[in-house]
């Protein structure tokens, strides 16, 4: 009995952390290139409604995920044109994108509010899923959960082991230096921003097609903002994003378990609800307290427009 409770907490933790990981890792790439896009909430909302609508009409959740991704790309393209080509303020444009996405998705989603999708069944990995306690939690999950792990591995390799990752980081550090040795700063920033949008769209698709298979206005409920905050608190390092997302999911799930149990713990539920935020911030701040590593990992040019000189 004890192990099955642990197993189900672990299972729920991974599910709750997955959209945060996908969205935050996408944002991490954009931010590493020096682009701060605060529009994640809006891009997720658009991804969620696009994925929901396409899944409903086609009956194929994968087409839905693709549509969600494209919606995220389209949203981030608007943002990229404004801040990279027109040199708009990144913070203001990102906030506007968030508001636009949440509002537009509500408008587009009106006719879909009464619809429901069938649940997509999990993918069970033979043998591994039979492991005690962790087996079911780790290896009997939705495909996008495995995708989030692959994304993480790919990102670590890309950022720290590939030449392209080095170029990306260089652009985030010093766009003028990167430009002067011949790298197309704006083009690479476009690609990084669009990648961030694609991941936000997939994160939204995970919510509306896999996590809670329904569409309702405002269903993203702040997860886009949490993802953005995670990137900062994780000091732009993929592994810490992973830790932060699971910590957040884990504490949220654990506090629900504590509430539902007959344990005599007298903590106001408002405080319990704030606990995931508190715990994540505290832990990430502690592991990132070394100022040198923070300076080493924070992209210097983050949020600053770059105008290539001729």
């Amino acid at each position: 009995m004890e192990t099955s409770i642990l197993g189900s907490i672990l299972f729920a933790t991974i599910v709750a952390g997955t959209p945060l990981i996908i969205v935050a890792l996408g944002q991490l790439i954009a931010e590493k290139a020096g682009v701060l896009n605060l529009g994640a909430e809006g891009m997720m909302a658009m991804g969620a409604i696009a994925a929901f609508a396409v899944t409903l009409h086609s009956g194929n959740p994968w087409l839905g995920v693709l549509a969600g991704m494209l919606a995220g790309v389209a949203m981030s393209f608007i943002f990229a044109v404004v801040v990279l080509t027109l040199m708009g303020n990144q913070v203001a444009s990102g906030l506007a994108l968030s508001i636009l996405g949440v509002g537009l998705s509500a408008f587009i989603g009106k006719p879909y509010e009464s619809e429901i999708l069938p649940t997509v069944s999990a993918i069970r990995i033979p043998l591994l899923a039979d492991l005690p306690v962790i087996g079911n939690a780790l290896f009997n999950q939705q495909a996008l959960v495995y995708f989030s792990w692959a994304l993480f591995a790919g990102m670590v390799w890309f950022l720290y082991r590939s030449r392209a990752g080095l170029v990306l980081r260089a652009i985030g550090e010093s766009p003028s230096a990167a430009h002067s040795i011949g790298f197309p700063v704006i083009r690479i920033r476009y690609l990084a921003t669009l990648f961030g949008g694609a991941m936000a769209g997939i994160g939204g698709a995970f919510l509306s097609v896999f996590y809670t298979p329904l569409w309702v206005e405002g269903m993203v409920s702040g997860r886009g903002w949490i993802a953005i905050a995670l990137v900062v608190f994780a000091t732009w390092r993929p592994f810490r994003v992973l830790v932060g997302a699971y910590l957040f999911g884990g504490v949220m799930v654990a506090q629900l378990f504590v509430q539902g149990s007959d344990l005599d713990i007298n903590i106001p539920s408002q405080l319990l609800s704030a606990l995931p935020y508190l715990a994540t911030i505290i832990v990430l701040v502690i592991i990132s307290r070394d100022r040198n590593t923070v300076r080493l990992n924070a992209p210097v040019s983050l949020g600053q427009p770059y105008r290539p000189e001729a």
Binding site: I5, L207, V216, Q259, N266
Partner: protein, 356 residues
């Protein structure tokens, strides 16, 4: 660039003109202020059904503004409605109370009605429904049908209205099954489908085979459908979100009250009143019972409904015993409305601890 700016300005003007032309109203218009989008089920959806019934039965024109935040926006919206000459204005969320009271003082000729509040004015009445009556009945069904004797409840905020529902549910369940226990999870949000679902999943993994919720989405019913347990909807009939799992739902019906109020205003006989209606006024009903409920139990539920309608059954009839074993209401007495409105404890049978 200049060109773009001008076009955008023009576009804005056109949009504004469109919005203004959309807000021209007939003289005896009735205004509704909604706290959330109408959607397809839930609190605001039920109020909107009431508005449609009002239009159909009285022929008045109505208008509504949805998704109005419980703040300064609410005052602006209510004031606009009063200014343009709406005869009656219904504000359908608790947080509108003070704003409506303020506006009502500037428009003495307009009838204001606030839903779920406690402040009245010279031209402002109150209405609320005894949601707990439906909760009691669903508790009876849960108590009879549970195999595990564990029931689950996903709740928003620990305010008296929500606690009345929780306590009525366990009291109903315990009236037929003294072994039934209730686990409660607070999500501290009226509306977060992801979290509501997570809470339902948690309750189910802790053994609950009957779950219900006092939040606004349908996520709990859907979670129950997936996990193969039973659920009770709230606000609206949510059976299409869980055709197998959804046993019934406590549903709200505001239409009759709206019709009566508007007719009184038209006849000039309206005076502000405080209405707290339930089964006797038809403001609370159960959604159609699922065939999974045995016929014998269905008959008993219908009988209990009849008793509620005839005021022969009070869900909080004594003895009412709280979680600690203290008697709140002795046998032979019913809990008073005043006591109901101050409820801040769990009754016997709830195993979770109250969160403050």
């Amino acid at each position: 660039m200049r060109f773009t700016k001008i076009t955008i300005r023009k576009l804005a003007l056109v949009l504004l003109a469109g919005a203004l032309s959309g807000t021209s109203f007939a003289a005896d218009n009735v205004g509704f202020v909604y706290v959330s989008p109408i959607g397809d089920a839930g609190w605001t959806y039920q109020h909107n059904l009431g508005r449609l019934q009002l239009e159909k039965e009285t022929g008045v024109t109505t208008s509504y503004v949805e998704n109005v935040a419980e703040g300064a926006d609410a005052e602006r919206v209510i004031r606009e409605m009063a200014k343009r000459g709406d005869k009656v204005i219904f504000a359908t969320s608790f947080g509108y109370m003070n704003y409506m009271l303020k506006v009502s003082k500037s428009f003495p000729q307009t009838a204001f009605v606030h839903v779920t509040g406690y402040k009245m004015g010279k031209n402002m009445g109150l209405v609320n429904a005894r949601f707990y009556e439906g909760r009691y009945l669903t508790g009876v069904i849960a108590g009879e049908m549970t195999q595990s004797n564990v029931l689950g409840y996903v709740a928003a905020f620990p305010i008296p209205e929500v606690l009345q529902g929780i306590n009525a549910f366990i009291k109903g369940a315990r009236s037929v099954n003294p072994k039934a226990e209730l686990r409660v999870i607070w999500v501290n949000s009226w509306y977060d489908p992801g979290k509501e679902r997570q809470a339902a999943m948690t309750l189910i993994s802790q053994g609950a085979d009957m779950v219900t919720h006092h939040t606004d989405s349908t996520a709990v019913v859907q979670a129950a459908e997936e996990e193969g347990v039973y659920a009770f909807g709230y606000h609206s009939d949510m059976s299409k979100y869980g055709p197998r799992a959804h046993l019934t739902a406590t549903t709200h019906h505001w239409g009759d009250y709206y019709v009566q109020t508007v007719k009184e205003v038209q006849a000039g006989s309206w005076t502000p009143s405080s209405v707290w209606g339930g089964y006797p006024r038809g403001m609370i009903k159960l959604a159609p019972l699922n065939d999974a409920i045995p016929a014998e139990l269905q008959a008993r539920i219908h009988d209990l409904e009849k008793q509620l309608t005839e005021r022969k059954l009070h869900p909080f009839a004594g003895p009412v015993i709280d979680q600690a074993g203290k008697t709140i209401v002795p046998a032979g007495k019913n809990m008073s409305d005043d006591e109901l409105n101050k409820m801040n404890y769990y009754l016997q049978g709830v195993v979770s601890k109250i969160p403050n």
